[in-house]
Amino acid sequence: MNAVIQTVLIGIAVGALYGLVALGFGLIMGVMKFVNIAHGSFIIVGGYIAYWLFTLLGIDPYLSIPAVMLVMFAMGLILYRLLFSPLLKYPRAEMRLDKSLLITFGVTWILDNTVTLLWTPDTRSVVTSYTGSTIDILGAKLGLTGLAGLILAVLVAVALHVILTRTYFGKHVRAATEDSGAASLSGVNVQGTYLMSCGIAAALAGVAGVVIVSSYSIAPSGGLDWLLTGMVVIVLAGEGNIAFILPAGLVLGLVQSISTLFVSPAYQQPIALIIFILVLMFKPKGLFASRG
């Protein structure tokens, strides 16, 4: 019984992180219909910034989150201005999607190799005084960093939800998501909305990077795996359903961690990917979509 509670706890902590990883990716995809292949690399870059702040200046990773978010936000703005906004000239959505896929693929290439150049291909992690410590929940142990990741993920997801549903900016975002042409006609600054969404998405990647570097480890080549995880979560949540991203992440985390009770942990990733294909084939609108 204890092992089961332990597995569930780990699943929830990991799942919350999956949701956090997917939030920024889902935001860009939902709002702009762009695929940001570089999202995983953004996460890695965020993690390395936190790593640098910790090793060079001794700043605690969780305290460095605002700084990381700020830097990543700026990166997101640059990405939009330089590379995404030229794509808006293409009339068809499919074409924009393909182009964004290729361009962000190039961005991934640049970021991954830059990161390798700066920090070597070794895996890095931030080890603080509290890294190994755990707390007891119902007789099972949960790492403090895991708990912090869980809390952060929930906070960020709730904050994003509040922004999207309760603010004027959120209204614009939702309008642009639904129909950018109509939104533009009714006075929404679609370009500005896109710009801000892109910045926020990158900042969210930064938060995910900090959580990853402090509770797991990062390597320059790790972006692809996080990206795939994020994509799996998006598919589970259903495209454009930003509110369902965190729950979908939790589902994936739980399924993966429960699967370790039956098969070797080495097969966690293939399991996630098989779920992904199955959901795409049988429930293409996501797990939470109502029938019809």
């Binding site: 590379l83 030229p86 182009k99 693929f105 290439w109 190799n113 150049l117």
Partner: protein, 319 residues
């Protein structure tokens, strides 16, 4: 279509040169190595060209076909099967895998095809890495009389085959259907193109070519410290880059892209190190943004401009 004798004779000349050159002079193992690598890149990027360039389906998992063929070829060859047959069997295994992977993923549209294929390739890499944890290599007798010359000629033959296949497909009815799907899938469907059927055909032929590249790689490289490296996404990405930089949906774009990547990395790897890959990334993005037809199409952009300036120059002198 009239035969373009000028182009054809130029191609014949290049081919003859490639055949004769290693016979008459010793190129050195360095150059030969680069050439063989180039051949692998050309075949693999032609494979990506069929599905990505002509049909417009961004396949991020082509390495799965490449890797499976490398493994099948390697093990068959080790078991004593002649290399030609082993490579053929390797390609066939790629086709089988493509059929298994393709039927579900090709139903997915747009980004989901890209993500689905990437996911499957990553899953393949993890699974193979979990199963084969030790170094895999051919027996010592193979490396004793290792020579690059037969690898060069086999590679050259496979390149010619790959080029002929792409040429034939592009000129066939299927090729027309593929381009129609790429340009506007809905319109193609409405006008009666069997979209799914032609996507599958494109994927299967592309798998054959990726399989040939994989087989050639198994022939060139005798030992693999970790077999999962042949499933590394870097293969897919290199092929994609070669096609996009050279020009997707053209016969010679992938060739030019491959030459560009292989030769430039040979030149820059020593001087710039890792940084040369960053430069490639920038070049790639610039090409996507500015030259949608790649370097091959870039020639068409530049040509009228050159002709115009020459004409205006003439007019200036006449006046």
């Amino acid at each position: 279509m009239p035969v373009n004798w000028k182009k054809l004779s130029l191609l014949g000349l290049i081919l003859a040169l490639l055949i004769v050159l290693p016979l008459v002079m010793d190129l050195g193992s360095n150059v030969m190595n680069v050439m063989v690598t180039l051949f692998i890149y050309i075949i693999l990027s032609q494979s990506w060209n069929l599905i990505g360039g002509y049909t417009g389906q961004v396949n991020l998992g082509i390495v799965a076909f490449f890797g499976v063929s490398t493994m099948v070829t390697h093990f068959l060859w080790k078991a004593g099967v002649p290399i030609y047959l082993a490579i053929t069997a390797g390609s066939l295994s790629s086709v089988v895998l493509a059929a298994v992977i393709g039927l579900p993923t090709l139903r997915l549209r747009g980004m989901y095809f890209a993500v689905g294929t990437l996911a499957l390739a990553q899953a393949a890499q993890t699974i193979v890495g979990n199963i084969f944890t030790r170094t895999i290599s051919m027996p010592g007798s193979f490396s004793k009389d290792y020579s690059l010359t037969p690898r060069y000629y086999l590679g050259l033959t496979l390149v010619v085959i790959a080029m002929l296949v792409v040429y034939a497909v592009a000129r066939s009815k299927a090729g027309l259907a593929m381009v129609a799907i790429r340009d506007d899938e809905q319109a193609a469907q409405v006008t009666g193109v069997k979209v799914f059927k032609y996507k599958v055909i494109a994927l299967l032929i592309s798998a054959v070519l990726a399989g040939l590249a994989g087989g050639l790689y198994a022939y060139v490289r005798l030992s693999f410290w970790q077999i999962s490296i042949v499933f590394s996404p870097a293969w897919t990405f290199d092929a994609l880059m070669a096609v996009v930089i050279g020009g997707g949906g053209t016969l010679f774009g992938p060739v030019i892209g491959s030459i560009f990547l292989v030769v430039l990395s040979e030149i820059f790897a020593n001087t710039l190190g890792q940084a040369h890959l960053i430069v490639f990334g920038f070049i790639f993005i610039l090409v996507v943004l500015l030259l949608p037809q790649g370097l091959v199409g870039g020639a068409d952009v530049v040509r009228p401009w050159v002709v115009r300036t020459r004409r205006s120059g003439q007019q200036a002198t006449e006046a």
